[in-house]
């Protein structure tokens, strides 16, 4: 459903050109849970941004559900993003002036969903992440893990086929990170395709498939069945 061929991304500033991605090829199938790892500055976020249409790419082709993303306008990308993609950010990115209910509501409003349906979805999603009772709270009243769960609820409320997460547990301690990971796994079981960038090898190991990005290219990927040996093999490679 996600198909990238020879994607490249060049950032140009006055003096420097940065090749953040080059000849990047990837196919993702429906229902996969993919972990993306790699050294800092290797292009993981760039890949995720392009996959989520937050950025355009310089070369290659990218198809999402058969739609050629390169041909879309800015509005077209916004619409597609709104319909198919849920984002989870390292910094949670909740809107501080809105309460939890209103935060989860944001993408639904942009999609033009009616009030009653919005309410049903928001309540269900907040319930799903275990924060149904705190809808009226503002983000500052929550712990980091709780905030990230709200962000996940927000991503889920649009019922996206795709969840893109950039180091969703990067700002969380290990206990909270594990809770978030379990939440993502259950969402994946319910059918959503997930691509998650992470620095945590332990979390990466729990994904079905691991991609390593080095210098803007996929250098090695392996299917994990949760086996410790393979994990060690990769680490040693």
């Amino acid at each position: 459903m996600l198909n990238m061929t020879n994607i490249s991304k060049v950032y140009r500033s006055e003096m420097v050109q940065t090749h953040a991605l080059r000849d990047f090829n990837l196919q993702v199938n429906e229902g996969e849970f993919i972990a993306v790892t790699g050294p800092s500055g290797s292009g993981k976020t760039t890949f995720l941004n392009i996959a989520g249409m937050l950025e355009t790419y310089t070369g290659g082709t990218y198809e999402l559900d058969g739609i050629n993303v390169g041909k879309l306008t800015d509005n077209g990308r916004a619409e597609l993003r709104n319909q198919k993609i849920g984002f989870i950010f390292q910094g949670f990115n909740l809107i501080p002036d809105l309460n939890l209910y209103e935060n989860v509501e944001v993408p639904l409003r942009y999609r033009g969903i009616k009030t009653a349906e919005r309410k049903r979805r928001i309540e269900r999603c907040l319930e799903q992440v275990g924060l149904g009772a705190r809808a009226k709270h503002v983000p500052a009243q929550l712990s980091g893990g709780q905030q990230q769960r709200v962000a996940i609820a927000r991503a889920l409320a649009g019922e996206p086929r795709f969840l893109l997460a950039d180091e969703p547990t990067g700002n969380l301690d290990s206990l909270m990170a594990r809770q978030v990971m379990e939440l993502l796994e259950s969402i994946n079981k319910d059918g959503a395709t997930i691509i998650m960038v992470t620095h945590d090898p332990e979390l990466a190991r729990r994904a079905q498939r691991n991609i390593q990005v080095v210098d803007g290219q996929i250098c090695d990927f392996k299917l994990y069945q949760g086996g410790a040996e393979q994990q060690r093999a990769t680490a040693g490679a």
Binding site: N49, A78, Q90, D97, E102, T115
Partner: protein
Amino acid sequence: MSELRPIFNALMRGKTGALLLIMQVAVTLAIVSNAAFIINDRLTYLHQETGLQDQNLFRFNLYTFGKQVDIRQQQEVDETLLRNIPGVADAVVINQVPLSGSGDSTSFNLKPSPQQSQSERAAFFMADEHLLNTLGVKLEEGRNFTAADVVYSQYYDKNAAVALVTRQFIDGLFPAGDGLGQTMYLGDIPLKIIGIVAPMKGPWLKDEKPDNVVLIPQVEGVAFKRVLVRTEAGRRDEVMQQVASVLLASESERVVSNIKGVDELLATYNSQDKLMSNMLLVLICVLLLVTALGISGLALFNVGRRTRQIGTRRALGAKKSDILRYFLLENSLVSISGMILGSILALAMSDVLMRHYSLPRLDNWFILYSLCGIYLMGMLAVYWPALRAAQIAPSIATRNV
């Protein structure tokens, strides 16, 4: 409407300075609507119909110091000389000058004093039978003075017996509307009202009854005289330059001074009002500018503060137009709240002005005009920051954590 709820909630929760801006909009509306109303009031006053061709009228003083000069005879010579200058429509020796801001008024009564009776105050102009023509005012009813009506007096030893009046005056003295042909009294002097003239103003526009004017066919033989001259359109300057030499050629033992256009006198008389109007206009502009800057400034500040949240909204599916609309709606909320508050404030302010400066009550239309103006200005002021917000890239959401 439901789109406004989260924007409103965010405004209330955020420390955005929105409250300050609401107050600013309110104060601006209150001051601008009142100032605009006062300006309009002054402009209506300044541009009112005077009934007189002030641009064709001029006046001067004539002081005779020669003891041998027969003042009565010389006056007739002078008037004839003046009336013969090319470009002069008519000229008279007169006791006071209309629209000049200085002159006399007196009370006219239905019965001779000391009897008490209905009375009406009016400015009175005294000159010979050329008076009406020199003023350039039309007779509406009755008859004009003739030479036979004119009385030449010395320290008021004789008195005229007839008078012309404006309709405002006669309707004040005779509310039944039957004044023409009746007699009124200046003290114990009877004056028969022989005609009604078209509306004209007396010497003071700011008088309580500026339209009350009485014309009397009488000339006082004194050494110091005022002269009023009406010229044909566009020829006044030319005539003004000649009067002194023409008059002095006939009799040199006198002084011609203070030759001034009546429009000039009026402008001096009204200069305070003009100045006030202009200052209020400047005040309005400054206030609008400051408020516009306040709106722009707060919006820009908010765009900066919310860069990440705007990027996030974009990432969650907001189009550029959604972001633009958010800021415009937010500004609408601030403006409208400020305006509701401001309307109340405007009325309160008008109340105070009414009580202390004898101004008329603020016309509600002026609140409405100011309201629309400020709202439009606010929208313009917020548009550029809002456009900048719409340009924020969605990738901000994942960058620079």
